[in-house]
Symmetry: C2
Subunit: 304 residues, 2 copies
């Protein structure tokens, strides 16, 4: 798995500035591979693990996943809804789990799918990306229903804090196409979002005066592209490689896509840009640490 990322520059040369999320993610993927472990304390899983449906329950669930994942993979993705469901105590649990994960050296992508405009978008970005916020993560998933431009305040926050965004683009659920494949002018919504993200990644890279532009790092603005829908990107004229956005791919494992599907669907983007999320297929192997560790190792090796 080292070889897949070997051509990418190590970013030690740029340690004097705040490292961009793309550079940090890339380093992490060089070291640990492309698996992202989802932290989804679904009520059914809590029951299976013998944990209560409370803030305390989701906290113990999340801490166990972090402990099993630390040192084995580079990235975890807490699903915010499964914490928010338990009110204030659930959000307290989320903050604690994210803190533990970052202290353990894991990158955290908060899967919150936030999206709004202006100062409201800025407030969400502060909540999830500001280093001193309780919910601080390395990256946040965001929803562009209000237009890619509405994400501007979140992009600015991400750039200021060295954080990242993953913008919903081509999701794996069957109804997603109603919106994402709708067309405006000569472009699909997903294609337009991918192009806007590409432009921002390219501008940022140019602004940073990366010396060797033939070997750029991953961008800080990523896209969410379902493992099972990546193959539709081409027909929807969505260029997934321009600007080198990291691509967060849910839908591997429990939801149905195999590694062969991923390689075929993502094509040339697979090797360097794709972060493959697995949640349920790993989490059903808990609560014992041995079961989780084994499932994580197998999934990591499978997608490498």
């Amino acid at each position: 798995m080292q070889s897949a990322f070997g051509w990418l520059p190590r970013s030690e040369t740029r340690m004097s500035e705040v490292l961009d999320f793309g550079a940090r993610l890339q380093e992490t993927m060089v070291r640990h591979g492309r698996l992202c472990v989802g932290i989804d304390p679904h009520p059914d899983l809590l029951a299976q693990w013998g944990l209560p449906e409370t803030g305390g329950g989701v906290r113990r669930f999340g801490e166990a996943v972090v402990e099993a994942a630390a040192g084995r993979v580079g990235v975890v993705k807490p699903q915010v809804a499964f914490f928010e469901r338990y009110g204030v105590a659930g959000m307290e649990a989320l903050a604690a789990v994210q803190r533990s994960a970052r202290e353990a050296g894991l990158l955290v992508i908060s899967d919150a799918k936030r999206g709004d405009i202006g100062s409201t978008m800025a407030a969400y970005a502060h909540a999830w990306l500001h280093p001193e916020s309780e919910f601080a993560a390395d990256a946040l998933t965001v929803s562009p229903f209000l237009g890619f431009g509405s994400l501007g305040p979140a992009i600015e926050a991400a750039e200021a804090y060295g954080a990242g965004l993953f913008v919903l683009a081509l999701t794996s659920n069957p109804e997603g196409g109603e919106v994402q494949l709708a067309r405006r002018g000569d472009r699909s919504v997903a294609g337009q979002i991918a192009e806007a993200a590409a432009r921002r990644n390219i501008e940022r890279r140019e602004g940073h005066n990366v010396r060797d532009v033939s070997h750029p790092a991953l961008g800080h603005i990523g896209l969410v592209v379902g493992a099972t829908t990546a193959s539709t990107a081409q027909q929807a004229e969505v260029d997934l490689t321009r600007g080198l956005p990291p691509l967060l791919a849910p839908g591997y494992g429990a939801q149905g896509a195999s590694v062969a599907d991923l390689r075929e669907g993502f094509g040339s983007a697979f090797d360097h840009q794709v972060l493959v999320n697995s949640s349920r297929a790993i989490l059903v192997q808990g609560p014992q640490r041995a079961g989780l560790v084994d499932a994580i190792d197998r999934a990591r090796d499978d997608v490498s």
Copy 2:
């Protein structure tokens, strides 16, 4: 303002079952008019009010707005991002403010713009609509970027709990059209969302065997349609009246639309379906109760 809603049935006849959100909203609008007061503790407003940028600050801000609004209007809309920004304490403040508002007889629309799929969407719906959740509201704003169908679990939760949803459809920000006016087949995204909401409202009404179908109540699935973009609904072939969805209209006052604009933009939908939100124009008149009360009274009378 009574006259505008006088043709609508009073729902006392159906008190034996859980009242639908549409029926409750309608009663509230008959009694109090169509103004919704936004609770947006923007950092600038906190400073102006002499409140700290903390959970305690946003709580005191929210409680003051609730106190001024109670008995004068029927609905408040807390902007969740401005609470989430302050981490766990911010969410605790939001829960307290929403509880105070509901105890004071106000309907609460949590403006959270949540959106996801399957069990994740169900978890958000539980967080915001389940009567025993700490964040329980009467209605929630939701984002359909993953397709209207992805909101299914939230619709089911709303129907089970007598709660409502306001689905983003035609927002007032300039970039919104990139997605919302994109076309799929012969329809815009916004038009397709309005049609799906209409169908659900009609089915629900039929399922309830409302006796006098010529005088139906408002639906439980509403739409968010910006005050300044309502006029584009016609050109985008968005039917805002079919199924009688309540229409939440931000953009009045501080953001620029006058009542004349609203009447012209919404046309025949204005009289019975439109809930006009005002946040900033009212909130800048705080922190004194007299200033808030006066601004609320003026806005309520202006939009009636």
